[in-house]
C-alpha cells in the first residue's frame, strides 16, 4: 500500500517523470557545472583563484543587465535599449564629474530613470510592442550620448571613484562580486518575495487576465522598465569606473543580446510568465565561461560565437521538450 508520502508509486513511469523534472529544474545549473569541470580538465590555469575572479569581474556588467532583463522578459516584453542607456549614463556621469562624484552619480541614475520611464510609459500607455519602442529609444539614446561627447572617448582622472573598478576587499575579493551579489539579492526579493514579482509573472502569463484581476498593468510595466534601465545605469557606472572613460560609441554595444541570451538559456520564456532568476545567473556564467574557455585555449574568438549559438539552441530545446 502506498501512502501520500511515497515517491516511487508506479516504478518506471514515475522515475521517468522525476528525471525530466530534475533536468528542467536544474538543467542549466548542471550545464554550468559540466562546463566548469570540462574546463578544469582541458584548460590550463582554469582552476586558479585569479581566473575565477576574472570571470566574476568580466561578467558583472552583463549580469546586472541580465537581471533587469529577466524581469522585463517575464512580463512578455523586451528591452534592447539597455546598451544605449549604459552609454548615456556613463556619459552623464563623466559630464557632471567636475561637480563632484555624488552629483555625477545622481545624474547617471536620473538619466537611467528617465529613459526607463519613457520606455515603460510608451510601451504601456500606447500599447506599442516593447521591441519597437526600445528599438527607437535605443537609436535615440545612443545618439544623445554621442551628441554630448561629439563621438569621442572622454577620459577622466578620479582616483577614488576608479577604486570601484579595481578595489578588492581584503585585497582579494573584487568589489564587483559584492555589487553583483547585492543586485541578485534585490532582484530576488523583487521577483520572488514581493507581490511585484507576482504581478510581473501574471502580466507575462496573461495580460488581460491580470488586468481583470485588478493588477495595475501600466504602473507595473513602468516599474519594470525603470528597473531594467536602472540596472543598465549601474552597469554603465561600473564600466566607467573600470575604463576611467565614457565611450558613447562602443559602451554597451550589443550587450542586450548577451543579456537576452542568458535569460533565454536560463529558462524564462520570451513570451513571458515564470521568471527563472537562477537560470539567468547560470546563463550569464555559462556564456562568460565559454568566452574565457575559448580565450585561454587560444582558439579564435569567432569559434566562441558558434559555440554560444549551439548552447542557446540546446538549452532552450532541453527546457522546451518538457512542456
Amino acid at each position: 500500500m502506498q501512502t501520500a508520502g511515497d515517491v516511487k508509486v508506479v516504478g518506471k513511469a514515475t522515475r521517468y517523470v522525476n528525471v525530466i523534472d530534475f533536468l528542467k529544474k536544474y538543467g542549466v545549473g548542471l550545464a554550468l557545472v559540466v562546463l566548469i569541470v570540462l574546463n578544469c580538465v582541458i584548460t590550463p590555469n582554469f582552476m586558479s583563484v585569479n581566473n575565477m575572479w576574472n570571470i566574476v569581474i568580466q561578467s558583472s556588467t552583463v549580469m546586472l543587465v541580465a537581471l533587469g532583463m529577466t524581469i522585463v522578459i517575464a512580463t512578455g516584453g523586451i528591452d534592447i535599449s539597455v546598451g544605449s542607456i549604459m552609454a548615456l549614463s556613463s556619459v552623464a556621469f563623466v559630464h557632471f564629474l567636475p561637480h563632484g562624484v555624488w552629483v555625477s552619480l545622481v545624474a547617471a541614475i536620473v538619466v537611467a530613470l528617465f529613459f526607463g520611464f519613457v520606455n515603460g510609459g510608451v510601451a504601456a500607455f500606447f500599447r506599442i510592442e516593447p521591441l519597437i519602442v526600445t528599438l527607437a529609444t535605443m537609436i535615440m539614446i545612443r545618439g544623445i550620448a554621442q551628441l554630448i561627447t561629439d563621438g569621442r572617448v572622454v577620459g577622466f582622472i578620479h582616483t577614488e571613484f576608479t577604486q570601484i573598478g579595481y578595489y578588492r576587499i581584503g585585497g582579494i575579493v573584487p568589489i564587483q562580486l559584492v555589487i553583483v551579489a547585492v543586485a541578485i539579492v534585490v532582484v530576488y526579493f523583487l521577483l520572488k518575495k514581493m507581490t511585484f514579482g507576482r504581478y510581473v509573472e501574471a502580466i507575462g502569463d496573461n495580460r488581460k487576465a491580470a488586468q481583470l484581476a485588478g493588477i495595475n498593468i501600466h504602473v507595473t510595466l513602468i516599474w519594470v522598465y525603470v528597473i531594467a534601465a536602472l540596472m543598465a545605469g549601474f552597469a554603465g557606472i561600473m564600466e566607467t569606473a573600470r575604463l576611467s572613460a565614457a565611450d558613447a560609441n562602443n559602451m554597451g554595444m550589443l550587450i542586450e543580446l548577451d543579456a537576452i541570451a542568458a535569460v533565454a538559456i536560463g529558462g524564462t520564456i520570451l513570451t513571458g510568465g515564470r521568471a527563472y532568476l537562477w537560470g539567468t545567473i547560470a546563463g550569464v556564467y555559462i556564456m562568460q565561461i565559454i568566452t574565457t574557455m575559448v580565450n585561454m585555449n587560444n582558439i579564435p574568438h569567432a569559434y566562441s560565437m558558434v559555440v554560444k549559438t549551439l548552447i542557446i539552441i540546446f538549452a532552450v530545446y532541453i527546457q522546451r521538450s518538457n512542456d
Partner: protein
C-alpha cells in the same frame, strides 16, 4: 452624413499613411534642396535603399507570421564573404554557393523555430551570433577582396541598365513580384492565415510548420542576394557589415504598417517605409550641417513619433474601448 464622411477620411489616412508621409517628405525635400530632385541623387537614394529593401521584403513575410528574423545582417555578411572567397572560381560559383548557403541557413532558422519550438527572436539571435562567427572564421576577421572575377560580377552592384542602376531594378522587381505573391498566390494567403491565427490555420489543414520554414528561407535568401550585391558594389566581402541592418529592416516593416503581432501587413507599406528611411538619411545629408549624432537622435525620435501616431490612429475610435476612453479607464485603474 458628416459622420460617414469623416469616417472615410479617417480610413483613408489610416490605410495610406505611409505613402502620405513619403509624399510629404519627398515634396519637402524637393522644395528645400535644389540638388535633391536630380537623377544622380535619386538614384543614389534608391541604390542605398535597395539593400535594405531586399531585407525588408523578407522581414515583412516573417513578421506577418508573428515571427522575426534578426539573423539577416549576419547572413548578408556571410553571403558577401563567401562570394568574395569563391570569386576566384568564377561568377557562377560566386553567386550560386552563397545563395544555397543562405537557403540552408533559412531552413535551419525555420527548423529551430518550428521543431525546437523556440521563440523566433531567440532562435534567430542564436543563428545571428553563430553565422557572424562563421563569417569571421572564414575570413580570419579581415575583409576579403574580390579577385579573379570577370566584369560581370561587378555588374551586379555597379552596373546600369538603361541608365538605371541594376540593384534598383532588382529591388523593384522583387517588391512587385512578392507583393503579387502575398496577395494573389496561395503561399501569400497561407502566410497571412498562419500569422492571423495559427491554431485556426492548423485546423484548416494548412502545413503551418512548412509555411513558417519557407518564410525564413525567403528571408535568408533575400539577405543572401543583398549580401552578394553589396559585396559586388564594395569590391570585397566584409565580415562585419550588416551589424544593425536587421533593426533598420524591422523599423521599415513596422513603419509600413505591418503589426508585430502578425497577420496584418502590406509589402507596399514596407516599400514606402524603406523609402522614408532612405529619404530621411538623404535629407540629413542634404542639410549638411547635421552631425551624425543628431541624425541618430532624430531618426529615433521620428520612428517613435510615426509609430505612436500609427498606434493612435489604429485605435477603434471613440468609446470606452478606444483612444478617448483610455483616459477614463486610466482613472478607473487608479493611476
Amino acid at each position: 452624413m458628416n459622420a460617414v464622411k469623416g469616417f472615410q477620411v479617417g480610413a483613408f489616412l489610416k490605410n495610406y499613411n505611409v505613402m502620405i508621409i513619403f509624399v510629404a517628405l519627398f515634396t519637402f525635400a524637393s522644395i528645400s534642396y535644389e540638388h535633391f530632385f536630380t537623377t544622380l541623387n535619386i538614384f543614389n537614394v534608391l541604390k542605398q535603399a535597395s539593400i535594405l529593401g531586399l531585407l525588408a521584403i523578407g522581414m515583412t513575410f516573417v513578421i506577418i507570421t508573428r515571427g522575426i528574423d534578426i539573423s539577416v545582417g549576419s547572413v548578408l555578411a556571410l553571403s558577401g564573404v563567401l562570394a568574395a572567397n569563391l570569386s576566384k572560381y568564377g561568377v557562377l560559383v560566386a553567386i550560386v554557393v552563397p545563395l544555397v548557403v543562405s537557403c540552408l541557413i533559412g531552413i535551419v532558422n525555420g527548423l529551430v523555430v518550428t521543431k525546437v519550438r523556440m521563440d523566433p527572436f531567440v532562435a534567430t539571435l542564436a543563428t545571428m551570433i553563430g553565422i557572424r562567427g562563421i563569417a569571421f572564421i572564414a575570413t580570419g576577421e579581415v575583409a576579403v577582396r574580390i579577385e579573379g572575377v570577370s566584369e560581370s560580377f561587378y555588374f551586379l552592384g555597379r552596373g546600369d541598365v538603361l541608365g538605371i542602376p541594376l540593384p534598383i531594378y532588382i529591388m523593384i522587381i522583387l517588391f512587385v513580384v512578392m507583393s503579387f505573391v502575398a496577395r494573389y498566390r496561395p503561399f501569400g494567403r497561407h502566410v497571412y492565415a498562419v500569422g492571423g491565427n495559427e491554431e485556426a490555420a492548423k485546423m484548416m489543414g494548412l502545413p503551418v510548420d512548412r509555411i513558417k520554414i519557407k518564410v525564413y528561407v525567403l528571408s535568408s535568401l533575400l539577405a543572401g542576394i543583398a549580401g552578394i550585391i553589396l559585396a559586388s558594389r564594395l569590391g570585397a566581402g566584409h565580415p562585419v557589415v550588416g551589424d544593425d541592418y536587421h533593426l533598420q529592416a524591422i523599423a521599415t516593416v513596422v513603419l509600413g504598417g505591418t503589426l508585430l503581432t502578425g497577420g496584418v501587413g502590406k509589402l507596399s507599406g514596407t516599400f514606402f517605409g524603406v523609402l522614408i528611411m532612405s529619404l530621411i538619411t538623404n535629407i540629413f545629408n542634404m542639410q549638411g550641417n547635421i552631425s551624425t549624432w543628431w541624425q541618430n537622435v532624430l531618426m529615433g525620435v521620428i520612428v517613435l513619433l510615426v509609430i505612436v501616431s500609427q498606434a493612435a490612429m489604429n485605435r477603434e475610435g471613440r468609446g470606452v474601448r478606444g483612444w478617448k476612453g483610455r483616459f477614463r479607464r486610466l482613472q478607473q485603474s487608479g493611476v
